[in-house]
Amino acid sequence: MQKLSEIKKSLLVSFWFMFLTFPIMVIRVNPIEKIVQWRWRNLLLVGMGSFILSFVWRYMIRQKESGMKKTGADDLQSMPLIDRVRKEQRLYIPILVVLSVFGILFPFIFSVYQVNIMTTALMYVVLGLGLNIVVGLAGLLDLGYVAFYAVGAYTYGLINHHFGLGFWAVLPAGAFMGALFGIFLGFPVLRLRGDYLAIVTLGFGEIIRLVLENWNDFSFGPSGIANIERPSFFGMQLSLQNATIYIYFLMIALALFTVFVVNRLQNSRIGRAWVALREDEIACQSMGIDKTKTKLSAFALGATWAGMMGVFFAAKTTFINPASFTFLESAIILSIVVLGGMGSIAGVIIGAFVLILLPEYLRAFSDYRMLLFGAILVIMMVFRPQGIISNVRRTYKFKGTNIHGDQNK
C-alpha cells in the first residue's frame, strides 16, 4: 500500500515538472522560419526522468529515516563506508601505503596536464585545512578567506618583480603577511558573530580585490603581474615538465606539513579552546578562555596558510591578477570545509578532491557543472548534514576503567 502512495506522489511530481518545463523544453519558436516546433519527446523524457528521480529520492529519505530510528545499532555493516574505515584501524595502514605509492608514482604515469590538476587539488586541500581552523574549529564564518590568499600571492608577485627574490625567500614572508592581515581584519570583527561576521569578511575580501584591481601603481591593476619565477631547485631552473613534477612534490610536502600542524593544533590546549569558542561563546569565556586572543589566533593561523598558498599559487602559475581572487574562490574553499565535515582533517581532504577533481573530469558536461555542483551540495545537506566525515574528537584511554564507547560516532 505504501508503495502505491509513493508511486502516486512521484507521479504528481513528474506531472508538476512536465508542466513547469513545458515552455522551455517543449515549445521552440523558430523566429527565422516563423514556425513553432512542438517537441513532445522532451516532455516524455522530463516526465520519466523526474518520476524516477523523485522515486529514488523518496526511497533514500525513507532509508535514512529508518536508519535513524534504529540508533544504537552499532554493527559495522549498517554504517556508511567512510565511518567503517575510520573505525577499523587495521584498514589504515594498507590504505595509507596504497595512497602514498599512488602519490609518488602519479607524476611519472600521468601527463603534465593531470599532474597540474592534482597539484591544484592539493592546493585546495591546504586552503581547506587553513579555513577549517577558522570555520570548522573556531566556528567563525569567514567568507573573505580568499583575501589572504591574494595577499600571499601579491606579496610574492611584487617582491619578485621589484627585488627579484625567489620563492623560498618569500614563502615565509607570504605566510607572515597573511597572518598580519588576519590580525588586521580580526581586530575590528572580534565582536561580531555568525551572519554579521560573514558579511564583514565578505566585504573585506572584495575590498582587497578591488584595491588590487584599481591601484595601478602598486599592483599593476587588472593586467596583473607576469613572469613570476617558479620555485628554484637548489638554484637550478628546470624544464617545464620537470618543474611541474617538482611543484607537485613540493605541494605534497606542504600538504603533509599542513596536516601535521593542524592535527597537532586541534588536539592541543589552544585547539580545544577554539572548539569551545565555536560551541558556546559565553560558557567558553566563563571557563577562563580569553575570547579575544582565541579568535585572533584562529584568524591569524588560518590566514597564514592562505598567505603561504598564495605565494605557492603565484609561483605555480607565474602570473597573477585580481580575477583569480573573486568571491567564488572563497565559496569553493568554504564548500570544501562544509562538504568534508567541519573540523575534520580527513573530511576536508576528501572534500577538496571531490570538489576540485570532479568538475575537472566532468569537463565533458561543462554546461552542467554548476548544476551538478549544486546538486551534490544539496544532496549532502539532506543526507549527511554533518559532512562526509562527521565531528571527530580525540578519545582517551584510562587504566582500570571500563571505557564506555571508546570511539565517537
Partner: protein
C-alpha cells in the same frame, strides 16, 4: 568567620529596569549560601555581575581568596574573574555539546595551564607533561563527580541530570575558591536531587571552597545551606539561617502573597 567575597550597594540597570537594587551580600569561607527568590528577582543577573558577564551600574565587589590579598573584580572580563577563582554553572545548561565529556572538563583547566601554539606544534617535554596532567586532573574530577563512565562520549548526548553534573565538574576544574551554582537541581528527579545534595556537601568538604547556589526546591535549600539570602525585585529582603528564613514574614509575603502573612 572570614569572608571570601563582599558585595556592597550592587545595582544593575537594564535601560529602565533595575534588575538589582543596592544589594549587599557577603560570602564566608567554606560556607554553602543559598540565594532564593521568586522568578525574575535578579538572582541570575547577580551571578552575571559577579562573573563579569555584566558590568554592574553601581556598587563594589571585593574578593579575598584564602591566602591572597583582597581585590576588586568589578569591570574585569569573565575569563579573568574565572582565573581569580570564581566559577559558575548556568541555569540553562551551557556545555560544549560536540566535545567529549573529558574535553569539557579539560576546557576548565585552560586558565590553569599555559602551553601555547609553539608548544602545541613542537610538543616539547613541558607541553606533553602539562597535557598529561590536564587529562589526569580532569579524569580525576569526573571520577569524583561520578561521570567517569561517560569520559569519551559527546557532552550533548548525556542524560539531563548528567549534563548538570558535568557543568559542576567543568567548573571545579578551574580550581575556584567560590563556586556559583545556578539552579543545579532544576529538572532533576528526587533521587538525583538527593545525590546532588550529598555531592555538593562533599565538594565543600573536599575542595574546601565556598558555594553560592540559586535554587527553587525549598526542601533541598533548607537541608543543604548554612545560610540563605532572599531576593525580591532586585533587593535583598532577608538573610539568615534556614530556621530564621522559614519564619521570616517578608519572605512568606514575597513567596505566598500578602494574605498568608500571620
Amino acid at each position: 568567620m572570614k569572608r571570601v567575597m563582599e558585595i556592597h550597594g550592587l545595582t544593575m540597570d537594564f535601560g529602565g529596569l533595575r534588575a538589582i537594587d543596592h544589594l549587599d551580600l557577603e560570602v564566608r569561607e567554606r560556607e554553602i549560601l543559598a540565594l532564593i527568590g521568586p522568578n525574575g528577582a535578579g538572582k541570575t543577573t547577580l551571578f552575571n555581575c559577579m562573573t563579569g558577564i555584566y558590568t554592574p551600574s553601581e556598587g563594589s565587589m571585593i574578593i579575598s581568596p584564602p591566602g591572597k590579598k583582597p581585590e576588586t573584580i568589578r569591570g574585569l572580563k569573565p575569563n579573568i574573574v574565572t582565573r581569580k577563582g570564581i566559577t559558575r554553572t548556568f541555569q540553562n545548561i551551557r556545555l560544549f555539546p560536540n566535545m567529549t565529556v573529558l574535553e569539557n572538563v579539560m576546557i576548565g583547566r585552560h586558565c590553569r595551564t599555559r602551553s601555547r601554539i609553539a608548544g602545541a606544534l613542537f610538543r616539547g617535554k613541558t607541553t606533553i607533561r602539562e597535557e598529561q596532567a590536564t587529562v589526569e586532573y580532569s579524569y580525576h574530577i569526573l571520577e569524583k563527580i561520578g561521570l567517569a563512565k561517560y569520559v569519551n562520549d559527546f557532552a550533548g548526548i548525556l542524560p539531563y541530570g548528567a549534563q548538570r553534573l558535568l557543568e559542576i565538574a567543568r567548573a571545579l576544574a578551574t580550581e575556584p575558591f567560590l563556586l556559583l551554582l545556578d539552579e543545579p537541581a532544576a529538572g532533576m528527579n528526587p533521587q538525583e536531587t538527593g545525590e546532588l545534595d550529598e555531592l555538593i556537601s562533599r565538594i565543600r568538604e573536599e575542595e574546601k571552597i565556598s558555594i553560592l547556589l540559586i535554587e527553587h526546591d525549598m526542601r533541598f535549600v533548607m537541608s543543604i545551606s548554612d545560610r540563605i539570602a532572599v531576593m525580591d525585585y532586585g533587593k535583598k529582603i532577608a538573610e539568615g539561617t534556614p530556621e530564621e528564613i522559614r519564619s521570616n514574614q517578608a519572605v512568606i509575603k514575597a513567596y505566598l502573597g500578602e494574605e498568608f502573612v500571620a
